[in-house]
């Protein structure tokens, strides 16, 4: 649902789930919209209870929504978004104190691009121990769209099917679309598939799913436009890429981040697809297990081998 525009008060970017226990670190997640921000309770709950957890929610930035809905009048840049994130991150670090075990930044999807950008904007002493990317595509030339605002329609339909399914805990398997079919015909087929899978209620009109598809595509195009002129710095902290089992781009294990991994990158996977990896409890557990530990040494339990 559209949020209320409020140009008079600064956006509330940071949502605090849990403060860190004394001496323990904090995980900050960068949320790029598309799914409800409340879904981060899954990862928050799967992390060790002494670890602090907060979400930096881009959905709270009016210009970010407007850049998708009214791109012709938007002057938004990634650098401006990083400015906002940096301010919120520093304010929270000042509030909680910096004498803990450090931080880890987690960024899902486009949030990974911003988590990396935020890290490189910070002073070395402020930086997280690592950046964890959740099925996030690197903002590098290999993934730039050079053909204007076009994205491969078959790719977008596959992603849109994942998105529809994720909202209702269903798996939508798109039926083949005949060669030469236009977008309207492809959406008609997808609508039937989505209703059949229980992702949309029976009787959902084509006009409704078309509107939803337009909004979905507008978000993707916004992210492409923001990324096109952006030149990211090489990472000065280790990167961890956790791809979804059914990833946006199945073939590339780091989704292009190897090129930016100045301090190394490790590649892993978690259950689910690009969207359900934020929803499924087993995915939250898998991701939490891959987040570098932030516990001080005296809180880390060492398990002895059984005799």
């Amino acid at each position: 649902m559209a949020r209320r525009p409020d140009a008079t008060s600064p956006p509330k970017l940071l949502l605090r789930h849990r403060d860190a226990a004394p001496g323990a670190g904090t995980v900050y997640a960068v949320h790029p919209g598309a799914l409800p921000v409340g879904l981060w309770t899954g990862l928050s709950g799967a992390l060790p209870p002494e670890t602090g957890f907060a979400v930096l929610d881009l959905g709270a930035v009016p210009e970010y929504g407007e850049a998708a809905l009214a791109p012709e009048s938007s002057r938004l840049t990634i650098d401006h978004l990083i400015d906002l994130l940096t301010t919120a991150y520093r304010a929270d670090r000042d509030r909680t104190g910096a004498d803990d075990a450090g931080t880890v930044l987690v960024g899902w999807s486009f949030g990974g691009v911003l988590a990396h950008g935020l890290t490189e904007r910070l002073e070395p002493r402020e930086r997280p121990l690592s950046v964890v990317l959740l099925d996030s595509i690197a903002p590098t030339d290999a993934y730039q769209h050079t053909e204007g605002d076009e994205i491969d329609p078959s790719l977008v339909l596959r992603w849109f099917a994942m998105f529809l399914g994720a909202r209702r805990g269903a798996e939508v398997r798109p039926s083949p679309v005949p060669d030469g079919a236009d977008a309207e015909a492809a959406l008609t087929v997808l609508l039937a598939d989505a209703i059949g899978a229980g992702a949309l209620p029976p009787g959902t009109p084509l006009s409704g799913v078309r509107k939803l598809f337009e909004a979905y595509t507008a978000g993707l195009l916004r992210n492409n436009r923001l990324t096109a002129p952006y030149r990211p710095a090489p990472a000065t902290v280790p990167l961890v890429q956790i791809k979804a089992g059914d990833s946006l781009i199945p073939t590339d294990p780091t989704l292009g981040w190897e090129e930016l991994a100045g301090r190394g990158i490790s590649a892993h996977s978690a259950p689910g697809d690009h969207y359900t990896m934020l929803i499924r409890p087993d995915a939250s557990q898998a991701i939490a297990g891959l987040v570098p530990p932030l516990r001080p040494a005296h809180l880390v339990s060492t398990r002895r081998p059984s005799p």
């Binding site: 525009p5 809905l69 909202r167 409704g208």
Partner: protein, 88 residues
């Protein structure tokens, strides 16, 4: 669909939202912000698309953003409808 009034749009919207939420239309307050109703953005956009079919013209992409209550959106659509009627 010819020219519509704000009251007609408001009734249409309330009926659709009530149906989606499984509520009586009388339980849907027209002055409440959309983001305070128990609907997610998917459902809201589907209703918006359905409304475009009913109206016969497209809503601006920012309509829900800048007119975030049933009451405000209905008034905006009535104005748009009058404008479309005048230029038809």
């Amino acid at each position: 669909m010819g020219k519509v009034t704000a009251d007609e749009v408001q009734k249409w919207l309330i009926d659709k939202i009530a149906e989606r939420l499984g509520e009586q239309p009388s339980a849907i307050p027209p002055g409440q912000y959309f983001d305070e109703l128990d609907m997610d953005s998917t459902e809201a956009l589907i209703i918006a698309g359905e409304m475009e079919s009913w109206l016969g013209f497209e809503l601006g992409t920012t309509a829900l953003w800048y007119h975030p209550t049933i009451e405000a959106l209905s008034a905006h659509i009535a104005e748009e409808s009058a404008r479309h009627g005048a230029t038809a």
